[in-house]
Amino acid sequence: MWGIITRPTIEQRVRECLAGDLPEPEPVAVDPDSFCFAVFGDPQIHSDYHSSLDRFRQEVAQRGIDFFCVLGDLTNDATSDECDSIKLQLERVGIPYYVTIGNHDLFQADGWERFKEDYGPSCYPVAIADRIKLIFLDTADGTLGPAQFDWFESELADSRFTKIVLTHFPVFDGEKPIMWRLASDAERVKVQSLLERYGAYAWCAGHIHGLRHLQVDSVHHFTCGAMAPGTLDYGDPGYLLFTFAHDSLSWQFVELN
């Protein structure tokens, strides 16, 4: 894979993440028998710094959400001011959160440097309460790359947990002829095949601005890029809420209107 723009490629970013030099996000302390967390993508704040995160903060209080995950495209242009603003807004929600990277986060030449300075690695695993493993992937280029594919399979092979993959690009999302899905046929079927083989629960993605659920064989595919300001690709702003209780994981879409 050879990048023709002088920014770190997916392979370079992943190798940096897996080298262990970046501080890996710590597991959140939750009640192991009952916890819930929110997942959304694409706050994508512009130069007006508007986002739905203030509204989301009310949800956190009302529903007792323990932590949340953001699936990339934190800003629209990754300018320094936008990066400062989204970091502040995420902190203001007031609970722990995890982040992975999206294509918009790399729009500036120093996008990767800024991202890892603010949030650490873009691909990493987090085990929550010894129950659920969250596997964050870097798909900001629309592809996984060789190093990440190998690492991804080794993380999926860990049979102790219910596994949820969180990343920017969807593998599948509806039937419309759009370009916002993971790159090649072969890559998509290989990803789905690995998810199936290792019993992954879900692939959660952003990139497309809407909430959608597909089930492909036993794997849930969620699109939850519904925090973008302005018009969404479909539906209303919102997030995906996972609830773990009574040894069982359930999910629901929550609209913010």
């Binding site: 629309g142 592809t143 370009m179 916002w180 790159a183 046929d185 072969a186 789905q192 095949s193």
Partner: protein, 221 residues
């Protein structure tokens, strides 16, 4: 060149190739194809492709039929069925393609179309008859190629085409290709092709994502 020139009613071809996509697959391809023109305005093509060294065995099968609806620009309506499979991953994909193609005129050939693709996983992945699996989707197809060098016995062409006999790229990929042919005699032609695909252009981070090379021989009956 052999079939298009109207010299033959049947053209068969065999080729050996390689397809590599970083982190995804790396395999040799052996393909055989027949192009048949039973009557002047009708073309039928069928082919099989085998994988070696990864996802071994049958890799793809294709059947297409095209009819010329406006001869001055060789405007052709074409319908094709493709089945592709990855045996190691127990995955397959079935596709129906409809295209409108024109050319080559002034050394250009163009095409647009629509494809219905249905990935199939697990039991029955090898079946070419499933078209409504849970992840089915529609995609657009496009093609623009320019034969920039043409001599009496050989030619070279470059451009982009999101589909060919066995494959159809996703919209996230922008495919580029170059191919050529060298006619040895009235019946035999050597052909070669190299292709790649750009991904990530939605992110402003453009990279070449895959490589395909093939070389083979065509024989006209």
């Amino acid at each position: 060149m052999l079939a298009a020139s109207g010299q033959a009613a049947v053209v068969s071809s065999v080729s050996l190739g390689y397809r590599g996509e970083p982190g995804v697959e790396s395999k040799l391809l052996v393909a055989a194809q027949a192009d048949i023109m039973p009557v002047a305005f009708l073309a039928v093509d069928a082919g099989l492709s085998l994988n070696l060294f990864q996802n071994n065995g049958l890799g793809a099968a294709a059947l297409g039929i095209g009819t010329v609806v406006y001869k001055p620009v060789d405007l052709t309506i074409r319908l094709a069925l493709q089945h592709q499979q990855w045996n190691d991953w127990r995955a397959g994909e079935n596709r129906v393609l409809g295209t409108i193609e024109a050319g080559p005129g002034r050394r250009l050939d163009v095409g647009i179309g629509l494809i219905r693709r249905a990935p199939v996983f697990g039991d029955g992945y090898w079946s070419p008859f499933t078209l409504s699996a849970g992840a089915a989707e529609w995609n657009f197809l496009y093609r623009l190629r320019w034969k920039f060098l043409q001599r009496e016995t050989w030619w070279l062409r470059a451009g982009f085409s999101s589909y060919d006999v066995y494959t159809a790229h996703n919209p996230q990929q922008f495919p580029l290709e170059a191919d050529g042919a060298w006619r040895l005699n009235q019946y035999v032609e050597m052909v070669a092709r190299v292709g790649t695909a750009i991904v990530g252009y939605s992110g402003g981070l453009v990279s070449f994502h895959e490589v395909e090379i093939s070389a083979g021989v065509k024989y006209a009956f």
